[in-house]
Symmetry: C2
Subunit: 352 residues, 2 copies
């Protein structure tokens, strides 16, 4: 080592035959560095009079302790549950989370990606916006990969893009919800759809359609109406369903909010839930077990998306080899049966 | 102007007799720069061959287009409504929002403040954590003021700290909710409190207590029980209330979730809402108007907190003089009467 210049991380790395980033992680008390390694490196650095330069250190190894999370909205309990799952694992390890809301806009999502990369986040968790999904733009995602920043899709993914992901089997959940209404004896089953163009909308719609086909129910356009996920957005569409010459006797709502709106309209029309109209939601939001009647729904493990995505991120930190496996985790959605579908008037020839 | 060095922002500012930060804002298309000024400055800059240096520009005037938002939790609709209000005003002006969740931890809140300042946010919107409130630490807030970054309290504030704030009159809302139960003929009114130590808990509790005192109702310890704001946290406390030798005939829940939990328990005990037990919540969450029975509640203008705080921030940008007024806005909370309190069995001598 030359005596006329300060000791650098590279000098220490050469001495220990490890990478400079291992040295700097050890000197920064990174959680993933083995305790012995950390102590040995820190003792040596002190002995040779290493002076850390936090700016160049951060430029060298990207250790900022910050992670980026981009979600399309915060208005539903599902997204906040995902964030809760991420925080429950990563905040105790010392990570700070930058949460960004794209408002379903491709441009905002892109700007947030750029800003997060400029701020040197160590990983990005992304649930893509509706506009990104529709437009097919993914240059901003490629820039994440080029910068070697781990990218993990949470909940809403880009199917054609090679990155790890944790999603929920919405198709199966919707199939199970529809099948349950059929088994409860419903003859005409309506679907309060989500907004057009979202994968989550399409997958639940497809689950509904395929289930009707399996049981040889006709597919009727007039029984499928669109909402925007909010409770109020279900009011007019449900009234329109009840005003049909042949109104439905079962309704599958795209989420719990919409199902609660439908229950309200059914009641206002002097009809009884579940015997005259049975209703299923989707989400298992906390209140669904306590409203009257209690709501049959499909449980989405939102928090688990966050904890699984955290696990993938941590495993990527440990093993940053280019041949690393791309993990694709699909969590199952499970039907929870409550009062809003438990009909007491099923005739013996039904529910087969 | 010397010919042997590049034209700088200071040169342009001298020429136009304005501040360098006005020049750099104009060259960066800052929303608050007058259209004519922007065009004149941009044309001149182009004419003299000004080359922008985005790094030094950003160091000079802190124009990063990024704002920080720190909230204690994202688990309730109220916080997401505040964020929605901020975004509705500030995102169209080109600002990106970094949302951070302190999980009611002073340490995390402090770390987020440091990180946001390091990333040169142009303003910080803060709803303080329970720990910060309890501990009385506010050095991290002073560091924001020292850096001349606008700090605006949203919803939860530090009373003794000199910064702008937008809050809600929780005390009055709780008083009105309790008074309404008295007018509806309730004789024994219980309160499902929020977690200990939060200002929001204390103010609603005080509104309840003062209202009982005004109407000469005795204050009974056994009628005040604690929840954690979640629907499930109301179940056991409400059952305990109903098991009392003299159970309540009115319940004021600290929020809608807790009130929905209480309605569930009342119903499970074979009692009727509102005639046997009348129930009021707090928040006016979207579903409160659609559940059965519909829930009487106190409307908290969460989104308006965000829009008012945005307005204050923008006015601070325009006028950065040290003698600027500290704005303290208290939004009113209003009672919304629905089925859960509309008793049909009020005797003529009641409700005076």
């Amino acid at each position: 080592m030359a005596a006329d210049r300060p000791v650098t991380i590279k000098d220490i790395a050469r001495k220990f035959k490890c990478s400079p980033s291992t040295v700097s992680r050890a000197l920064n008390n990174h959680p993933l560095i083995n305790e012995d390694t950390r102590r040995n490196l820190q003792e040596y650095a002190q002995k040779v009079g290493y002076q850390r330069n936090s700016v160049s250190l951060s430029l060298l190894n990207k250790r900022t302790g910050t992670l980026g999370v981009i979600v399309p909205t915060l208005n539903h309990q599902h997204e906040t549950a995902i964030i809760d799952g991420l925080q429950s694992i990563l905040q105790p390890l010392g990570y700070l989370m930058n949460i960004c809301v794209s408002n379903e806009s491709y441009l905002l999502e892109k700007e947030y990606v750029e800003k997060l990369l400029a701020n040197r986040v160590e990983g990005i968790f992304l649930s893509i916006s509706q506009e990104t999904y529709d437009s097919g733009h993914y240059e901003h995602l490629e820039s994440i990969i080029q910068r070697k920043v781990p990218l993990i899709f949470i909940d809403r993914e880009y199917e054609g893009f090679d990155a790890c992901r944790v999603t929920i089997d919405d198709y199966y959940g919707a199939f199970a919800a529809t099948e349950h209404l059929i088994k409860m004896g419903c003859q005409r089953i309506a679907h309060l759809k989500g907004p057009h163009g979202l994968a989550v909308t399409e997958q639940r719609y497809k689950g509904y359609v395929d289930c009707l086909a399996k049981y040889q129910f006709p597919l009727e356009e007039e029984l499928m109406v669109t909402t925007n996920f909010g409770v109020e957005s279900a009011i007019i569409p449900t009234q329109r369903l009840l005003d049909l010459p042949h109104p439905p006797d079962g309704i599958f709502g795209v989420n719990d909010q919409v199902a609660i709106g439908a229950m309200y309209v059914v009641r206002e029309n002097g009809l009884e839930v579940p015997n005259q109209v049975a209703i299923v939601g989707f989400d298992d939001s906390p209140i669904s077990a306590y409203i009257h009647p209690t709501l049959t729904t499909v449980k989405r493990p939102g928090k688990q998306i966050g904890t699984e995505a955290s696990r993938i991120f941590l495993s990527q930190l440990k093993d940053s080899s280019p041949n690393q496996l791309t993990e694709n985790i699909v969590l199952s959605a499970s039907l929870i049966v409550r009062e809003s579908t438990l009909r007491t008037n099923i005739s013996p020839d039904q529910g087969s």
